[in-house]
Symmetry: D2
Subunit: 142 residues, 4 copies
């Protein structure tokens, strides 16, 4: 699936995503990974005026989900089993890119990491590693 | 600070929390920990009709923040540096309690864990461990 | 399997464990968990004279393995897929107990946590959360 | 510090490292990171004949430590506060490289990740993210 197809699919099966906390999209899909973006506004800030942890977690989680979707086809039922995130620098409102790499694409588990950088200056603000579980009987490329 | 005081403080300094994804509150504060609650509605669901990862991450993150606030006083500037979460069972809409324990309350780092259970049946749906960093010069009880 | 049976099994299938870094054993098995112990000596210390991170990681990993073994029977092939560990206090040489709880015992994944405490004063020195994967076709109680 | 200087320093302050589980060394130091190596032998194997989790954890931990040492000078007292590791593929005995990147070099916390690849075929067998804490009053380049 292309970035556009993943976005259309997410809008259909996961309307909550951009109903409540809008601003998330897939901007690029490449073999072995993808790039997701958060256009952080006032709604994504926490005390101190910086982008909140839940907003960046959501970006990382969508990144992993987009990796699975774009590399298996429209399959909405895979679920996150683990996600570890480190917050490294404060990020002001504005676009933040999540560069996602698939570290392992197994039969039942997909392991990925996501480096989150502010588009304005390219600084890494957070880094996450996670695992998606693909239920048995789903299409998979590995 | 009591649960009520923490809720009032959060409403003041972190309006985004319940603007976008409402339903979070502190229900109890005890020495060495606290309990936070998510009243999960349709807005918190992901594909498959179960409570989303970002919703549970937010619950865990608020739990750690409430631990810091309730044990140091109204200090809004502490930040999450790391959070690791495991998702174990699907949870339907309804109240979910996050039972938070402070594992370490150091001068600059607070380590906590949160066990998240559906109130209807008491099953553990997710578990998180995290670290908050308290900036130098803040009040602290350790 | 009892603690004694797990120790005998580990000695047989995992001789490296106590060849290189001796001092690890299972001291108790209960429904839903177990207790493992490290008798930390000079060999387990790192710079600064405190018990090393790898020694405590090993204790946590054995704790998860003992949870799987004691609740499924002698099955050596399950593997760790993820382990997250927080180090909270320095521990001097001496016995350290790892109190392990099974958070989820699924068909293919077992999630557990381990609280590591020095036996001398009961202080928590480290906390870990991990996942073991049980290959298909293995006996399992869930 | 160069790779050679870090190795000499480790041999002096951390003799336990290669006493018990030999085979660890720093093979390269570059700005913003370093490469560490484990020459995995029979002693590093777990049941199933593959390199054990504790052996790979140790490689990742040394990688973070070497990042701190090589970028601050001979300072033995920094400590790991958190390490999260994902195991992705089984690795047979033989050399495994840990490619370490410094994600953040703060005043008190250093965040790094380590990709571990078997030298024989370049496959990623494990990935870790961790944090070292540098005590106040230490030299630091950030």
């Amino acid at each position: 699936m292309t970035a556009q197809e993943v976005n259309a699919f997410l809008a259909e099966v996961y309307p909550q995503l951009n109903d409540a906390m809008s601003g998330y999209s897939v901007v690029d899909v490449v073999p072995g990974g993808c790039t997701v973006r958060l256009d952080a506004t006032e709604a994504h800030l926490r005390p101190g005026g910086t982008v909140s942890g839940p907003s960046l977690f959501t970006l990382a989680d969508i990144g992993g989900y987009a990796c699975v979707l774009s590399h298996t086809g429209p399959e909405a039922l895979s679920v996150t089993t683990n996600l570890n995130i480190n917050f490294m620098r404060k990020a002001l409102a504005g676009p933040i890119d999540g560069l996602c790499r698939i570290l392992k694409f197994g039969r039942s588990l997909v392991v990925f990491d996501v480096e989150m950088r502010t588009c304005s200056d390219g600084l890494t603000v957070a880094h996450a590693t996670g695992t998606y579980s693909i239920p048995p009987g789903q299409p998979s490329n590995a």
